[in-house]
Amino acid sequence: VAELTAYCLMLGDDALVLSQRLAEWCSRAPELEEDVALANIALDLLGQARLLLSRAGEVEGAGRDEDTLAYLRDEHEFRNVRLVEIDCGPGPGGDFASTIARLLVFSSWRLAVFSRLVESADPVLSAVAAKGVKELAYHRDHAAQWTLRLAGGTEYSRERMVAGLARVWPLVGELFDPHPVELALPGVAVDPSLLRPEVDQVLDTVFGAAGLHRPEIAPLSPVAGRTGRDGAHTEALGYLLAEMQYLARSLPGASW
């Protein structure tokens, strides 16, 4: 039970935090069509997050609903990978190219996870995955198309795309590190270490078409042996949560 709860939080937090990041583009995207598209992707991920956090709360059985889990957990209780929390723009830490690079990597990886999760012995996870694969396929496609455009557009956009990939690459390895929680749930959870060849192939296809190379950058170190999955995050997450949770925390007892 503790493992299943933790697993739902892992996948739910990934979606919640990336959704929060993508929604930052809302009213700031390079063109209106992209305002619509990024909001759409953020909404899909938010939907996945709500189902997964609700499931986590249900399995845990301690009366925590999606909002309690989203708004009243502290930073070290968040189980998302560090990739989704860093600022890839529109803040000063990134730009549209790094947003696309992250989305390409993340949605390729998550699509591989969800494709297997469809077979999960947990009926809720299986249903969430079945709905999610279609969404994620669209996200991946959207990111791949922009990768081609930016890599094959102007000299400047190509530089940005290369830099964007370099920005996110140190955090890619973490996606495939199996966590004890995942290994403790055979038939229910997906072991991400098995997905690397498949995801690499997808990425290599996109990189090939875009004339890009897979970056050669070492992975970001864990902190005291812990990564995002263990609650050890980057300095970016604290700010993100402060903004996200402030109102909910400052009016305890309010209903919305």
């Binding site: 063109e31 953020a42 909404l43 956009s157 903004e243 402030y246 109102l247």
Partner: protein, 312 residues
């Protein structure tokens, strides 16, 4: 020849039929429409900002999803409306340039700040409500693409209005702090909402011609009265006080009387000195300028693809 076309145009308009993009139309009609639809499109786009301001801080995931979807719809409305101007020969890039250079207006209501989450609900209720009053008649406007765009816009805005009102209802049933937030938001948005119908009829220069062309169908003051009459019972149901001591039912008129609008404030905000005018335009300009390299890349890529396909 032109005189004959003009008679035909006048006949179509008077018969409540639709003018379509390929039909002949007077220059003034075309220009008036481009200006009006562009301002409407700009309003949708600028209008994303005050609400987007609360997406990251929405206090529940459900409200976050509703708000994000709503702001996304506004971007969508902007897109249809810019497309409608393009059927009249306008160019979206050119209109955007006018917006970010402050040469074309958008609805002044978006020059007010959203200070609490209750503002999200009040914008849905009052601002979308006023917009719907303004826009429902436009669903029968004489220019076809505009009328069709407005049908879709109005449908979605009614949905947004209901969501806004529902948020306020929920908040009014919540804590004392939440009720205070709602009342405070109503106090701040009520008068600007009334200003959304434009200056009083005796000071409105464009009304007469626009009505003849069936671009406009009611005067500003008529629409404003309709909005007040519609809103008063909703405020009562909600349990909030509208900040106008002179507001009361007048059985003789069969309408609510209401107090004097601060037209100085109206003109000040229209003139650029509202609480957020510079902020809104700066925000839009920054997004537009920061995104230029992305749009250039997409155009360059599309051109290369087209060349390759031509060569193959």
């Amino acid at each position: 020849m032109d005189a004959e076309r003009e008679r035909e145009f006048d006949r179509v308009v008077a018969a409540e039929q639709r003018v379509e993009p390929r039909d002949w139309m007077p220059d003034g009609y075309r220009k008036t429409l481009i200006r009006q639809i562009a301002q409407h499109a700009h309003s949708e786009i600028i209008g994303m900002q005050p609400e987007a301001n609360w997406i990251s801080r929405a206090p529940s995931l459900r409200r976050k999803a509703i708000l994000l979807a709503k702001v996304q719809d506004e971007a969508g409305h902007g897109l249809y409306l810019y497309a409608a101007t393009e059927t009249l020969g306008a160019d979206r890039e050119d209109l955007t340039t006018r917006l970010v250079q402050g040469r074309q207006k958008y609805s002044s209501i978006f020059n007010y700040p959203t200070l609490t989450f209750a503002d999200v609900g009040v914008i849905g209720w009052l601002v979308d409500g006023a917009a719907i009053c303004n826009q429902v008649p436009l669903c029968r406007t004489s220019y076809g693409p505009y009328a069709r765009a407005m049908i879709r816009v109005c449908k979605e805005e009614s949905f947004h209005q209901r969501q806004g009102y529902e948020l306020l209802m929920t908040m009014m049933r919540g804590t004392e702090a939440q009720r205070r937030m709602v009342q405070d938001a109503v106090d701040r948005w009520w008068w600007p909402s009334l200003m959304m119908f434009g200056p009083p009829d005796d000071a409105s220069s464009n009304t007469e011609r626009s009505m003849a062309w069936r671009i406009k169908r009611h005067t500003n003051d008529e629409l404003r009265q309709k909005f007040v009459d519609m809103t008063v019972p909703q405020a009562e149901a909600l349990g909030v006080t509208l900040p106008d001591p002179e507001l009361r039912w007048n059985p003789e008129r069969g309408h609510h009387d209401f107090g004097q609008i601060d037209w100085d404030e109206f003109w000040r905000v229209v003139g650029g000195d509202g609480p957020c005018n510079r902020q809104r335009v700066d925000h839009r300009r920054a997004a537009h300028e920061n995104g230029a390299w992305v749009r250039e890349a997409a155009a360059a890529y599309a051109a290369k693809q087209a060349r390759q396909e031509g060569a193959a």
